[in-house]
């Protein structure tokens, strides 16, 4: 599969997209109120039906975003599936429990997105989590495994954020994307705590991102955190705002807002791990 084709389809956003969707809002609203009455298990089918009805004329834009998401979820799902099943990698107990929880979520995201996309779903790429040898011990060294997990989660959070604009006003797809997005952020928070508990280079990890690359694993993951050190939001410099005693710190300013990452940057990261 060619990731750059996906990227092209995402960036060629139909400028009339919103106008075209708006008249269909009522159809969506009706479908959703119907959806409330059906069992949760049946929802993906309802949604699938909804997509083909509401977006019949411009399936490539929304599907492009969904396939982009699916590709990232494929990557995460396979990563944790391999990690969880590799003997001796993740310590038994709470660590193994957490990795299993995250693995199950990523696999659920894959299943959910595939169900929503139906025949339009892209196939799973072939992954190389060593990134051509750069992370040769990814499945034999627990710290490397966690470090890469953190990079994937923090990237995932940024990737979903970067696509929200294309889904603006779309009750079903935007809401589902946001619901996945916050799960990735919960994962990132927990992985960061797991790394902190390991000490060493990760001893200063916090559940949130401070400045730009705060991972403690060096410049290899600089692209994951590029731009995370933004202190000005919508023209408001957060460090000029009043805190409890004095102005808010630069750390607080960067921690309190997670930044989006555009598709080209995300795909540059992802393609390191795709054969």
């Amino acid at each position: 599969m060619n990731l750059f084709n996906i990227f092209d389809s995402i960036t060629q956003v139909d400028p009339e997209f919103n106008e075209r969707v708006s008249p269909r809002r009522d159809a969506i609203r009706n479908m959703m109120s119907f959806g409330k009455k059906v069992s949760l298990a049946a929802m993906p089918f309802v949604m699938s039906d909804l997509f083909s009805r509401a977006y019949g004329q411009t399936p490539t834009d929304v599907n492009g975003v969904l396939n982009y998401a699916l590709t990232l979820e494929y990557l995460e799902a396979e990563y944790y599936t391999i990690g969880a099943s590799t003997a001796g990698l993740v310590p038994t107990g709470p660590a193994a429990g957490a990795i299993a929880t995250i693995r199950d979520h990523e696999n659920a995201h894959v299943a959910f997105l595939k169900q929503v996309l139906g025949n339009a779903a892209v196939a799973k790429p072939t992954f190389d989590f060593t990134a051509g040898g750069a992370f040769a011990n990814v499945f034999s060294n627990y710290d490397t495994f966690l470090a890469l997990a953190q990079a994937f989660e923090d990237t995932g959070v940024r990737a979903y954020k970067g696509q929200a604009g294309i889904l603006k006003g779309n009750r079903v797809v935007l809401t589902a994307a946001l619901q996945i997005h916050s799960v990735e952020a919960r994962h990132a928070s927990h992985i960061r705590q797991m790394r902190r508990a390991r000490g060493g280079a990760a001893a200063n990890q916090k559940p949130w991102i401070t400045g730009a690359n705060d991972s403690g694993i060096g410049a290899a993951v600089d692209p994951v955190y590029a731009g995370e050190d933004l202190k000005v939001q919508a023209g408001v410099d957060i460090t000029t705002l009043n805190g409890v005693s004095g102005k808010l710190s630069a750390d607080a300013a960067t921690q309190s807002f997670d930044e989006p990452l555009a598709a080209p940057a995300v795909l540059d990261i992802a393609k390191l791990f795709i054969r």
């Binding site: 709470p94 996945i180 990735e184 952020a185 928070s189 409890v244």
Partner: protein, 239 residues
Amino acid sequence: MKETTSTNESLATVDQQLSSKQLQRRNFLKLAGAGAAGVAFLGMVGCSKDDDGPDQGGDGLYFGSGDIAILNYAYALEQLEAAFYIEVANKPYSGMSDWEKMLFTDIRDHEIAHREFFKAALGTNAISNLEFNFGAVNFSNRDNVLATAKTFEDLGVSAYNGAGWLIKDVAYLGLAGKIVSVEARHAALVRDLISNGSFANSEVIDSNGLDVANSPTVVLQAAAPFIKSKVDVRDLPTY
């Protein structure tokens, strides 16, 4: 729907500390949010005669309409969270570790950053400062503080997730996205402080791996017991 149920379940721990009157309200909410009846709340008249929570119509603080109303809605939630964590940091519960002290100081500053950002961004459209009632929270008790924090963080995540599609301006949507993931990082951390590994358990994540999304109506009703000021959200977009 499941989303509503799980939020109410997560409120359960806090409810142990609430008065019976508030419990009655919660049961009312549970009924109202349980199905299509939630739509009847659009008029926000359900609790207008209560005097221990926000009067959501009439002469309260007017949120405005459209995106301005949604920003004021977010501003109100950030005011609530900031006020709560300022208390937590001011009155550390007994046995608060240095690590926990640092975490809660960080979270407090994040919520103040969000609050002050919305205030600055809204300018003259911003609602005034809300007054809160944390009488049901025992700030010296770790379990109680963490349970309340969990409620607020999960509720905040569900609020941004559920309001995203109502936002018309793509820049505002982007800002909501930048904030909601930080709230989710908080939620996971607080949950782990309560019970390691509960950062994203089945209370909040469904079988599709999706987090909770709640409408503004459901969120405001859940926050109602903590909000003393009267608010007027008649033109706040909801569903």
